[in-house]
């Protein structure tokens, strides 16, 4: 990963009549990073991608990819990107191979050795007509076409849709490999475990607004964790509840379980000053909990 900016959005806004699909989106994705773009249905993820790709035009603001304006230099940008649209649709009457040949022709040719390698790794069947393939196998064809020109930027909207868990793993490995080689990956996904596994940073969008933009590790460190405390004697919940960052305290005999989103050092200091702690365990919050927290809160976080 470098400090160069691969994808840049500035006050990007898109309205459909009265519907504000995207509102003043500011975003920088660094070259070589895997960026997870999260949000519930209708939050504006696909609108953001379609605007960046010049499928639709922003109401105001602008976006650029690899320093090129998304509208003025749309064709030049497309030389350097790979794209998997959400709800992928391909030409049902073409075989997988014909489909890839078509897109390869439109790109002026690709390395077919690499296509074969991708086909093997994803266990894709390119001999059948796309319309006769299952959705997962169709998705593999879509993934190969996105990777086959060794793009500098990969933009993918729900790319693992329909893939079985083994294929999801293979796809994640592929993503990490290309990112390690310098490809920027913009990954819009609902599969939070996948984003957590591969992404360096995530952006969370809600009702068209970006409400969080942080490294996954940083988000997790700040997020609510479940803390289990074991004492040498009984403890009252009322003692723990006033402590800063503590909520949802449940006490059973010598054991207290609580949710905590403050500094661990502070918690430990206060608890050990008052009680004799026999054991402590914490469960790190996963992205799903973080995601849900953002969506439960009404206030914008950033």
């Amino acid at each position: 990963m470098t400090d160069q900016i691969a994808i840049h959005a500035e006050k990007l806004t898109k309205h459909y009549g009265d519907v504000r699909a995207l509102v003043d989106l500011d975003l920088d994705v660094r070259a070589g990073e895997i960026f997870g773009f999260l949000g519930p249905n209708g939050a504006g993820k696909t609108t953001t991608i379609r605007t960046m790709l010049d499928e639709i035009r922003p109401t105001s603001g602008k976006a650029s990819i690899l320093g090129l304006d998304s509208h003025d230099a749309a064709v030049e940008i497309r030389r350097h990107i790979g794209y998997v649209p959400g709800d992928l649709a391909l030409y049902p009457n073409l075989t997988g191979r014909d489909t890839l040949t078509y897109f390869a022709n439109l790109r002026g040719g690709v390395d077919w050795g690499y296509v074969e390698e991708l086909t093997e790794r994803l266990e894709a069947d390119l001999s059948k007509k796309v319309g006769d393939l299952s959705s997962g196998n169709r998705q593999k064809v879509g993934l190969i076409q996105a990777f086959m020109n060794r793009p500098q930027v990969l933009i993918m909207d729900e790319p693992s849709s329909g893939l079985d868990p083994l294929m999801q793993r293979a796809f994640q490995t592929l993503m990490r490999e290309v990112a390690a080689d310098g490809t920027t990956v913009f990954l819009s996904s609902h599969t939070l475990s996948e984003v957590q596994r591969v992404a360096d940073r995530v952006g969370i969008i809600r009702r068209g607004k970006l409400i969080a933009l942080e490294a996954v590790a940083s988000l997790r460190s700040k997020a609510i964790r479940t803390v289990n405390l074991y004492f040498d004697g009984p403890v009252e919940a009322s003692v723990l509840e006033p402590l800063p960052g503590v909520r949802d305290v449940k006490v059973q005999d010598h054991h207290a379980m609580l949710s905590f989103d403050g500094q661990m050092e502070t918690l430990l200091k206060v608890v050990t000053e008052r009680f004799h702690v026999l054991d402590i365990s914490t469960e790190a919050a996963d992205l799903e909990e973080i995601f849900l927290t953002y969506y439960r809160d009404d206030e914008v976080v950033v």
Binding site: T46, R50, L53, D54, E55, I56, R57, V75, E76, R78, R79, I81, G82, Y83, P85, D87, L88, A89, L90, Y91, P92, N93, L94, T95, R97, D98, T99, T101, Y102, F103, N105, L106, R107, G108, K129, G131, D132, G142, Q145
Partner: protein, 554 residues
Amino acid sequence: MLASVFAKTTRDRWKGMAIAMFSLGLLLWMVMAVYQDIDISVYSDLPEVFLSIMGIPEGADVASLAVGVLYGFYGALTLAGLAVSMGSSSVAGEERDGTIGLLLGNPKSRTNVLVSKAASMLLLVGLGALALWGAAPLIAGILDVRMGGMQVGPYALHLFVNALFYGFLAMAIGAWTGKRGLASGVSAGVMALGFVAVGIFPIIEGWENVAKVFPWYYFDNGQPVINGIQWGDLAVLMGAIVVLAAIALVGVNRRDLRSHNVGVTLLDRLRGSPLTQKIVDRLAGATRVSRISIKTASEHQGLLIVSAYIMFFLMGVLMGPLYGLMDQTLLDFTKQIPEELWAFVGAAGGDMSTAEGFYEAETFGLMAPIAVIVVTAVIGARALAGEEQNRTMGLLLANPIKRSRVVVEKALAMVVYAIAVGFSTFLGVWLGSVLGGLGINVGNIAATSLLATLVGLVFGTLALALSAATGRVRVAIFGTVGAALVFHLVNSFASLNDSLAGWARVSPFSYYLNTHPLQNGMDWGNGAILAGLTVVLVALSVVMFQRRDLRQTG
């Protein structure tokens, strides 16, 4: 409105029917207004044989003539066309859209779905026929013209049953094959061929009864507009409808439903055969996807083959020998009828005493432009809007190509196909002329075929422009068909009224046959105007497509 399959189908379709009937009402108003200023006694006093040839009933007046001409051709084709669209979409359309599985996931049988769709078609086509029935006296009343000599009610009933026949034909084919395109194409073909055959066979000595093979014969064979309801003819059509409905029911219940829109083309079949696999693999594989234009062309090969076959063989080669079999005395009569009179009944041409006039009336008058328009309008409408509807446009434009290139390559496929249909027409007519010993000038055949190609391209590129501007296939197709009907009518009737004569030049059709190229040779001025219009519409398509947001779904 979504309480049942019947209600949803009706909701999805009523607007199209309402717009079509409203448009026909406006056209009827226009035709009646044109006729109003003409002294029709000149025509109604003509010998009976003239009137019979032209389908003018004795004692007809202005309003009746307008109704007869407009409903007999434009009304009948429009109503039947809408029925075909509904019939072909009934089950095959749900399969194409991938919604049939979801629909049948509910406690509804296939029979139930088909019957609901059929009931909706019956209702809407019935309402359409009622609207046509009501529009005639209403417009006559507004314009204060007397209406007599024709029976509009019985005519509307014949229109209704005739349209239902083609609707159920399309439904039966769709129910058996699951292929919407095949269902609508075959039904429209049967309709168009019947329309032509019913005009030709009755004037061939000894072949009169051949016309009875064509369903269109039973629509107005007994001239219901004059003689009232022809129960015998209606019984034939209704019997056929019952049979077709039964065939549809059997068909939809016995086969596997299609979950995806995968068609098998001729090239695919050849690709699967060991004998032809090697060469066709290249043709249907690598070559087929080498360019956007070639891929676009490959998607419509079936349509091209059918259209080219009809124009080459049926409307070209076969017509030459047929002309020799016709009753020459009757044909000679047509020479004496002034051209304005043919325009008066909306005919594309009239003087059939010469082979050139015959071919101009039968092959070039309607069928040639229809064949080119069908091919080009389908390509034009599906070119951009079809890719958006199928959600493949986003992926296509993720490649390093300009939107303008997509439009131009799609237009190129359309031009190549239009030329192919035009060339098939040329070859067919030339061969027909040789076989029939008619001696039509080859250069003139080429000129007329070229003009037919160009006038078809104008409407094909109009479909492209509508497709580019809206991203909606239906708007592009119905908009183009509507425009073609209106412009055809304007060209036919505006010249009848001095104050409206100038308006005929607005119609692209006025640059096609008005100078009789089959007899007089190429009119390069007209050719240039049609070619210029085509180029302008392609340029407009580029601008429209570049300016707007892509649609995410159909």
